[in-house]
Symmetry: C2
Subunit: 332 residues, 2 copies
Amino acid sequence: MIQTILLKNRPIGTPKLSDFEFKETDKDLTIQDGELLLETAYVSVDPYLRGRMSDAKSYIPSFELNKPIQCGIVAKVIASKNKNFSSGDFVTGMLLWQTKQVSTGEGLLKVDDSKAPLSAYLGVLGMTGLTAYLGLNEIGKPKAGETLVVSGAAGAVGSVVGQIGKILGLTVIGIAGTDEKVNLLKTKFGFDAGINYNTSKDISEDIAKAAPNGVDIYFDNVGGPISDAILFNINRFARLVICGAISVYNATETPKSLCVQPFLVKNSALMQGFIVSNYSEKFPEAMSHLSQWLAQEKLTYSETVVHGFEKIPEAFIALFEGKNKGKMIVKL
Amino acid sequence: MIQTILLKNRPIGTPKLSDFEFKETDKDLTIQDGELLLETAYVSVDPYLRGRMSDAKSYIPSFELNKPIQCGIVAKVIASKNKNFSSGDFVTGMLLWQTKQVSTGEGLLKVDDSKAPLSAYLGVLGMTGLTAYLGLNEIGKPKAGETLVVSGAAGAVGSVVGQIGKILGLTVIGIAGTDEKVNLLKTKFGFDAGINYNTSKDISEDIAKAAPNGVDIYFDNVGGPISDAILFNINRFARLVICGAISVYNATETPKSLCVQPFLVKNSALMQGFIVSNYSEKFPEAMSHLSQWLAQEKLTYSETVVHGFEKIPEAFIALFEGKNKGKMIVKL
């Protein structure tokens, strides 16, 4: 039996379970020459998928209604008629929310479970790690001694950004939504300071206290009021890496926030949207650093693992409630 | 008799005449070795001066209360004990709102009234032209065939930006506040299209019509709702040059506008604050292009000239009412 999850409705506001539909089929999958049969092992659920569920014009096509959703997956090759892959191999790539599927192998990368746990290839050694490394380096252009603030700091990307910041000699301040997360930032990920935005009386003031020399780089995963608060603390020539805006993904009207232009002019500051796929020529360089740091235990990561294919929509929705610590993974 | 204009109060909201104070003195100015005596000929009034009148931290120090205001001026040397300058020379530089003054010559540039009218050295051959050229090139990074939108398009900087855009092979759309200005954009400055933001029913829609291929570069002089409307029309990898935000300079509370982050992420777009003084090493290159284009009549400019030293505060305040077409100049 093969299970698939289809996009049933384009979500309005926060996605609901009823926006997804489960379909089952007993039909066997067969492979042609050059193809592989894959069994899904780990599924990545990521905030950016929310964008593809809407039909607004964006950098990647919208998901089609009544078609399976596609995302980062680690799968096991269970049959192969492709000389590049053998039965028993594990691969990662953009695949479907489906228990088994056929692939031509295009875009798939073999992964080695002796080097790192398989789920890491969806996180610190996958898009998450690449996003953290390349967003910070390519837009943030960090120089040792500078101050970096990361929002969504206990999340999959944010926790890696902060650690890379420390490796590169920055002062790193993280913003997260619970005391437990803020504590993790400092004890597990080596951040210099953490701010709980839910209990802070004045986020801008708390940033000013934690960053007495001002903020040189802001790695933004959230948008909204937290990002507004940063603007009062940026230094001349600050770089604001706009990686995500989870706080507004579910907004049903285009949200308002502080007018950023005067802050950017006053500080000759830069704000740039980051999409990891624009930097694919730098993936090998990034991967080599990330794997090395992971092997040297300079880099660690958190995962929230949910078990069972049928939990995928729930795990996805939980991202918007901040229920994950680090990378949210569904294990089949 | 020497007249000076002092900053009496830090303006709240739009500056008022009562924020300025005139002072007269009969005391003669004398010069020491190395100094010059200058007689002010043309005074530039610019929106950015509003920033220096407030005491908020910024890229240049605030003006001090009860001290003369400083700005771009063309003055005549009426006595010189400095070997680099002779009586009768005209110079430009940052000088005081004062009819006569003493200078060491530091930071002053000799200007040649046989090459261009003296007031042009405060406009198209001064900070205005440098701002237009360097903002467009250094942040906008134009490529022939792209589409450029300019706000404050009939203003001193905007009208030059648009013309440089045309010289570089761009499609250029200007946004201005009266039909007369919009008409000027097309007939005098060679813009491809113009939008009157005061009569437009939907600025975003009008931009979409004028820019069927989307917007690659936005040169922003105004901020506020006009800049919001641009966001719906930007292309992938768009560059937004934030040169000024005149619409919000007089705001007494930090104004709200559209949350820009999702637009920047979706389009991998860049937004960067531009301050001309950061690019001083490129001034000679820029000046050589600007003077050449002016001599070739590829570049033209508008001036609104107000007569009389005592009119300086009025001319400055009029900027915020859009009363100027092109560069606002006070001639003594």
